[in-house]
Structure formats: C-alpha cells, structure tokens
Amino acid sequence: MEDAAKKHKMLPFWALIIIDALGICAGLGVYLLFDYVMPHRLDVKTEVVAEVDSDKSFELPSDSSAAGDADSEAEPAESISEHDLGRAKRPSLRGDSEPEREDGKRNLSNQYTYNVDSDEDEFERILDASTSIELLGHGRTDNADVSVYKKSVLDGDEKITYFIADVYVSNAGDILTAFAEDTYGKNIKDTVYNMAEENNALFAVNGDYYGNAENGIVIRNGVKYRDTINDADVLVLYTDGVMRAYHPEEFDMDKVLEQGAWQAWNFGPSLLDGKGGLNPTFNTTSYLNSKNPRSAAGYVEPGHYVFTTVDGRDRGYSSGATLSELAAILAKEGCVYAYNLDGGKSAMMYFDGRILNLPDGGGRDMSDIIYVEKQEGE
C-alpha cells in the first residue's frame, strides 16, 4: 500500500514549474546549437549575373594628391584638427557620369517593416564637431588607392573614435567580397583577419554576415547565391561603379540584375538619402539604433567609396555611434549614400596585415568580408 502511495506521490507544483523552465532553457540551447553554431554548407544553384565592365574605368587620384607615399606601409602618425572638415568635403555630385536610377523613397513602412525616426540634432552635432585626424597608412596598386585614417569627434564620455578607409578603384570589379573558408553556407565563419590574409587583401572590412540569416539577397563578385528578399534594406554595387541603397518594398530583383549587380548586401539600414542628407527614417528597430560599434559602406561617386568602422562600448576611448551619428560620419566624408553593415563585435577593419580598430570583446568570427586586393606578387 505504501509503495503504491509513493508511486502516486506527485511532485510539488513549484518543482514542475522549475522543470519546465529548465526544459525551455535546454530547448533554446539545443535550438541555438543546431541553427546558430553548427556550420552547414549550402549547395545552392548559383548564377553568374554580372561580369566586370572593363570599358568602365575610373581615374585613380594622382600620387601627389594621395595621402602619404605609394607604399602600403603605415605612415607615421599625423594629427590634424580641422573644424568643419566634413562640410568642406561634401560631395560634388557627378550627376552626368551616373546612369539614371530610381532614387530611394522613404517612409514605405507597413506592418512588416520597422521604421525609426532619425535624429537630425545628432547628425548636425557630428557634422559641426571638430575632427581629430591621424593618417594610419596608404596603399596603392595599379587598380586601387586606399588611405586609412583614425579619426575622433566629441570629447569625454561622448568621444567617438572611428576608422575611415578612403577607397578609389579603377573599376567596380576591384571592390571584392569573400566568404569564410571560401564557402557559401550557414554558420561557416572565420576572422576578418584570416579572410583578408587568405584573399591577399590590402584593405578589408566585415560584410553583412549573410550566413546568420536564411533570407536576404546575396550577390557576390557577380554571382547570385540567394534572391529571397527580407525586411532589411539592400545595398547594390553595380558593374558601372554606381552604388544604390533600396528599401525592400522598392527593390526589384529583375531590374537590379538587368542593370548589372556586381555585389549586393542585405543588412542596413540605409543612412543617407542619395544627396548626402540624412534619411528621415531608418528601416530598423529603436533597439538597434543605440550607440554601438559599427561598420558601414559609403558611396561618393563611381569608383570612389568610403568604408568606416566605429569602435564602441568603451567610454572615454569611443562610446560607439547611433545610426544618425554613423550617417553624419559618412556624410562628412562626402558620401551621398551610406549603408550600415554588421556591427557590434563584428565591426572590424583590416589594412596591410593588421586589424586597425579595437573590436569589442576582441571581435568575433563572421561569414564574409569586403576587400580590395593587393597587387599580385606583393
């Protein structure tokens, strides 16, 4: 009788709740292990959608106008404090050299998109702030000219330290991308440093971490890997050197492919309105708009691109940037379009054999980079 009673003795209710809570944690752990950690090679049907347009070549800046000498060695630190440098560098739109494309319309929100108002005050504050500039290095090949700077704005706890790569290429095909382990797949990751070294890069910056998502446009070096649209903005670099950011609702895959998409990234949001002004809204959430380490790509004109990596989460050295502040950093460099890439621990910039910035927590492995190649044999 006692045995039967023991058998039917039920666990107390609080113990059941604890067991179920532990079950939820275990379930989440197993889920993350399968879906977020274990690498999966994806055998997809790839398609070559664009080839380098060799007729379209852009002039590189003359050596005398380039920062520093022609070697890829780091220059001695040179500090310049220049007020309003950005405004002086605001773009001279070479409208005549650009093919006509529909400009990005904003405020296209519906229940599937996440719009956050941009902050004009933050944008203006960074534009008006004096910038401390240190030239870190300059590299030149037959096809590219890259100057990298360490810059900082504001003071004290608000100080923002960021790295700028001013990239000129003679052809859009010289802006290259690479996958970790040279493989397209999910959770296949490597450090930015390793990917840059393996691909003989002069300069590299982290990409959009495509391997973390199941949807989204992936076109790399003229090859289409994925064409499922998600809710994030898309950045396209065309073979004629033009770069455009699109809201998902205005993105037309067929049109983009017709026009020769050399690269396409799907992260965002798009930061500038195509004229160097701040986008009134960002296609993101307010949580992602907070101060963070960030990487971004900017477009000045065909053949001239600016990449930035902002350090963060280290008050006194660099607090990180909100999206409006990031937009201002790139507007200051003369960009008309700017696009947020993966940030946080992913934000890393490589130049000539070293990582320039101080990645949060030492950085993390990720799935792709954007890079400019060194001269063959270098």
């Binding site: 059941l16 067991i19 179920d20 809570a21 079950g23 939820i24 379930g27 989440l28 889920y31 399968f34 879906d35 996440y114 973390n212 998502a213 199941e214 949807n215 998600n230 809710d231 994030a232 992260f267 993101t284 959430t285 949580y287 992602l288």
Partner: protein, 67 residues
C-alpha cells in the same frame, strides 16, 4: 495514453516558452528572424500538434469527471 497526457502539457509549455523568447528576440533584432527560420517552422508544427492533443485530452477528462 496516461503517459502521453502527462508529457504533452510539458512539451507544450516548453515550446510555448521557446517561441515567446524567439518573439522577443525578433522584436529587438528583426534580422535574426528566429520565428521564421526553417527549424522554427518545424517546431511550430510540433507545438500545434502537441497543443491540440493535450487540449483534446483535457476536454475529454473534464467531460468524464463531470459525468
């Protein structure tokens, strides 16, 4: 049947808890898109089946006890 009726509510609770976590994570960072992943879709199906069966069992016992 008895074992099933004991286990299923816990499976339902665990899966419901997981989807609440996914939903919160997706609100914070929609790029992660946890709710719409392929694996999540399979879990959602298991969640629905488990919820239906445990509800049917609960209704059955409730009616039986009333009699």
């Amino acid at each position: 049947m008895k074992k099933l009726s004991r286990i299923l509510p816990h499976i339902t609770i665990i899966l419901a808890g997981m989807f609440i976590v996914f939903w919160i994570l997706d609100i914070l960072n929609p790029t992660m898109n946890f709710v719409n992943r392929r694996l999540s879709n399979k879990l959602l199906l298991i969640f629905c089946i488990s919820a239906i069966i445990s509800s049917v069992i609960a209704v059955y016992y409730e009616r039986k006890n009333r009699k």
